[in-house]
Symmetry: D2
Subunit: 366 residues, 4 copies
Amino acid sequence: MNSNSYGKLFSISTWGESHGGGIGVVVDGCPPKLPITEAEIQFELDRRRPGQSDITTPRKETDAVSIVSGTYNGKTIGTPIAMYVPNSDHRPEAYAEMKEKFRPSHADYTYQIKYGIKNHEGGGRSSARETVGRVAAGAIAKKILKLAGAVKIRSYVKRIKDIEANLSNDFPSLEAVEANPVRCPDPESAERMIKLIKDVRSQGDSVGGIIETRVRNLPVGLGEPVFDRLEADLAKGMLSLPATKGFEVGSGFSGTFLQGSEHNDLFENKDGKIGTKTNNSGGVQGGISNGEELIFRVAFKPTATILQPQQTVDTDGNETELKGRGRHDPCVLPRAVPIVEAMTALVLVDHWMRQSAQNKTFSFEE
Amino acid sequence: MNSNSYGKLFSISTWGESHGGGIGVVVDGCPPKLPITEAEIQFELDRRRPGQSDITTPRKETDAVSIVSGTYNGKTIGTPIAMYVPNSDHRPEAYAEMKEKFRPSHADYTYQIKYGIKNHEGGGRSSARETVGRVAAGAIAKKILKLAGAVKIRSYVKRIKDIEANLSNDFPSLEAVEANPVRCPDPESAERMIKLIKDVRSQGDSVGGIIETRVRNLPVGLGEPVFDRLEADLAKGMLSLPATKGFEVGSGFSGTFLQGSEHNDLFENKDGKIGTKTNNSGGVQGGISNGEELIFRVAFKPTATILQPQQTVDTDGNETELKGRGRHDPCVLPRAVPIVEAMTALVLVDHWMRQSAQNKTFSFEE
Amino acid sequence: MNSNSYGKLFSISTWGESHGGGIGVVVDGCPPKLPITEAEIQFELDRRRPGQSDITTPRKETDAVSIVSGTYNGKTIGTPIAMYVPNSDHRPEAYAEMKEKFRPSHADYTYQIKYGIKNHEGGGRSSARETVGRVAAGAIAKKILKLAGAVKIRSYVKRIKDIEANLSNDFPSLEAVEANPVRCPDPESAERMIKLIKDVRSQGDSVGGIIETRVRNLPVGLGEPVFDRLEADLAKGMLSLPATKGFEVGSGFSGTFLQGSEHNDLFENKDGKIGTKTNNSGGVQGGISNGEELIFRVAFKPTATILQPQQTVDTDGNETELKGRGRHDPCVLPRAVPIVEAMTALVLVDHWMRQSAQNKTFSFEE
Amino acid sequence: MNSNSYGKLFSISTWGESHGGGIGVVVDGCPPKLPITEAEIQFELDRRRPGQSDITTPRKETDAVSIVSGTYNGKTIGTPIAMYVPNSDHRPEAYAEMKEKFRPSHADYTYQIKYGIKNHEGGGRSSARETVGRVAAGAIAKKILKLAGAVKIRSYVKRIKDIEANLSNDFPSLEAVEANPVRCPDPESAERMIKLIKDVRSQGDSVGGIIETRVRNLPVGLGEPVFDRLEADLAKGMLSLPATKGFEVGSGFSGTFLQGSEHNDLFENKDGKIGTKTNNSGGVQGGISNGEELIFRVAFKPTATILQPQQTVDTDGNETELKGRGRHDPCVLPRAVPIVEAMTALVLVDHWMRQSAQNKTFSFEE
């Protein structure tokens, strides 16, 4: 499998660049008879769409999706599902300077050395525009999870720069997340985050932060030892998203300050069901889901594109200055929330099918 | 590819359990004519060997490796390299209680639900003993990297619980890392860490911490967009190691407190070579190595096995108590250092071969 | 990797059905800087196009291809190449009877049982229309092979039913193959084949036959022991084409009538180059190309769609009769010639990249 | 996945050479709780063992297998199953001439060019000794198929050179196949085959032929469109076996002499079950099993090793003569019968798990 594809059994192949005719994805391995509509997919795409609020990039894209193959009368038929989203508001002139100068903390330089050729009219495959395909495919994966077991995936902004949401242990509702453009279910913090984002934008600057994801109703048993542990595949999925710098599950980095006697999750009988008193494990033990809430966090760096002038070098290696211009998100997190959810769903469906294949295909009980 | 295998072109398949006859690994795709000896592999295995110091488990294993196939007269011949390490000091009686009771924060419960059967005489595949195979294969990968471009991988303990090493920006020498049993190149902090580990062990407790890894002399261009970004595959490799809870590259989680203008790595001309002034990117941009030092950190939780009594449930779901016993590492980090290095080498060699396959096989220059 | 994808390093994913909006393919892993135009791809698609002569199906499809992503200014840039061919002359009414009755020797029944749902308006993924994607991707692979080493792939009709071409050992020219609509480079036999095909069509019947493929200028060393021998991957590629029933390489089935002393290919020195006197091996030894001409044959069954009434059962299992109707090829071989060439090119490029990855990435010579 | 591995969900990795310490295989993805013993595996290994009769090689190998991991108390536990068979009667001196001279129609030359290094003490990975691993793994796959649905795989010799077995349509019993050393269930032909083999051996020569395989009780639905059709994967599996030159399913090459009206398999209602009157399809339609008997044939060339002197070249390219010596099978087919059965079982179990994963994991019925 090549690097534009993900998934062993429920697999996707994305294609398209920020500057070409459009973006697409082919989903292979989707079970037949799944009811799915373009509207369900469009719902998720609208959540990641540029220009959706006054704290995102003003690039205007309707991101209207078409299902080109793989369904019939609103149901999947077991064949590859091709989906396509045209680009409509690309402005190559905004990238004129890129032809000669490497943008700091972008992929311009590494792509140039790796491939020796590029379309300088945009970020190409390193642009977050590539994630359109993941979100479209993820909408299908989410539908499967919903029908298969009422599995709920909820991502939300937990921190922007140093403003951290004040959240209870309750599972946040979709409504609470969508209630504000920054997608933080704590309204008071959300307001401060929005103000911060507007402030840094007015400085021509950018900020990052942390997105947290919680998953409920996951069955016990997803995840494959040794290399394909559930958290390993989630880590890979998350670090494959643009602008991510870190991943942690359960207690994560802060759990390293505890001792084992504090950190261990003691088992208990919860009304006839085995569970744990605490959840430092974050829902996975030995790489396998244990029925507790799956919880993980992803660090997103401040957007690399800023409007301030920056020192850089040109393609001949001469030092020069790059004047910031173009449209960008001063903070990627609000639009990254549906992307993280989509990637989570893709990982989970693939693992669910793998678990079933090995452990449910044949039954050798006495 | 199944879950006990890793790598697309330089691939390994590990087998064996903590309680069986031994542990093995098959390396497929290793280039021919690589000079490699059992001694070079044994050197790395000795670094992860139980019983190597007074702060590790007292389990006595010589971990003597045999190369069973794939080499001739000290060189690889392009065929699969099978390696085998027998278990010698396994004590199944230490696991008697496990037959009926689930150990907290271990994989006992999830494995039981997933597979419905187990060998209760040990941790099986979830035991860190499985990493013997990775370290043996990693020794081959390290040799390739060394000969291919003097690539140096250095992992070391950066923090144990709340004791953080005080490190300069100099690349730590292997000697500095190996100078003390905790594998922290800051001797003063190392001493305090060792004392802490001994203290928690005397309480029947355990601690975790952070291992940092730095890689020098990596060529520009390793890593494949979109899903197989270098940091994505490193994240997967690290989170596939037992007891890990988090991964971060470059500025990681703390970088999210910066603004873009502070975080961006400005390009400069370093004596005719393009480089960056800072390295918040951690050596990867757009998922591709940029020639700067690759740097990442991994969080390890406190060891789950502790000697204090803990509440748990038995296989029938009844609440009960588990009395701690057996031999264990009060802190896994010292022995995890060579494991992290090995996994890093496996990821890098595989990506090097992929980069070469796509971009070097054919030349279409004008 | 899922079942609509092929290739480890040069990989393709095809999508689309005979009855939907169109057919597409995504090529991943294509090296950058390859010059490629839509015209070059269209040339191959025109060779497999319906309605190209009076011995093929009268379905009218222009099969006009668009390159949607992955190239810039006529060159590949290392990103996925998406290509799309719309369906224009689909007639769902021709398939009305299929809704209730299984067509003999078609995939209707097996797909129904496997998926439990279908679009009854056409053959779906089992239709040969799916091969549009392979031919488009194969055109790119052929271009690579041509530039990389003047590799020539020539497929042609060797036998239709019992009419066998009378061919010399000379490598047939493309012109000779394309000189007649049946694509047999022996003009006299071609004439008789064409007459036979017209005769069986007038009876509402169909015929099959054998396509032979020869490849020149292949380097020594392609093919990977043990499971991915070159002939194993060619066999898989060919048997994955619709209507194929057999594959043989070199001496094939008839070679089993010889004794070892007759069958062995003796080595000789051909003007300073090691070669073999005979070529019963067909260009592969131990699964690896040996520099001699690669030669193999593929058996195609007579087209399953015929215009005579046939006994069958309906979806309830009742016996009934199916009246033949619709447009079809009375013989698939003429249009299968470019498909076989395309599939051959896809196998060869992938193996070339694999050979390079393992054996050329690193050099450990003394 | 690399070239010494096979299978997507039920996967095997083989290792070891004819001349090293032994041969092994690791099976990954085997479902847990399968009862399996070393005796069941040994039964199949004994069928392929050298020296088992007076028409095979006199090399003496007990081929005694050990299960080293993956089972507990006679059952699989879901972890990798490692198996090992030591080499005991290797005679490197028999290969002394190979150091300098390429054996005709062997892999000596291609391996030398591909890898640039070799162990000249035997055939290495191109030796049929490699198939020990497949037969051991295949024994597990056969056990799964037997328990899952009483699936029976029966391979047998159909033709040796020009002596073809006279067989009825009855499914041959294992006893009938094992009743004679040539493994042909027609006793009269078997006797003539045995005489032929002894005759060619006395001439220092060799013969080939055809093995036919029939599979009963396979469920409808195995095989994945487009590239992983059941017959495509069987073709690959068979052509990956040493000495094979061809594969055909159902009517195969001879079916190309029929017209569609003769070749089509008409559906009928067989006591409430949908079936076909004839079986030219060989049990697969559209790449998917249709519930009829799966039937295919494999062509094996005459053994390349013969005892007559042959012209060849040495490693410097000088023409020379190779004097035949060493122990060899004058005809590989009798020992290849269990190998073909094993490879068939490996293909079928993997496809069964894939079919289950995609179509049984989730249920979306109204």
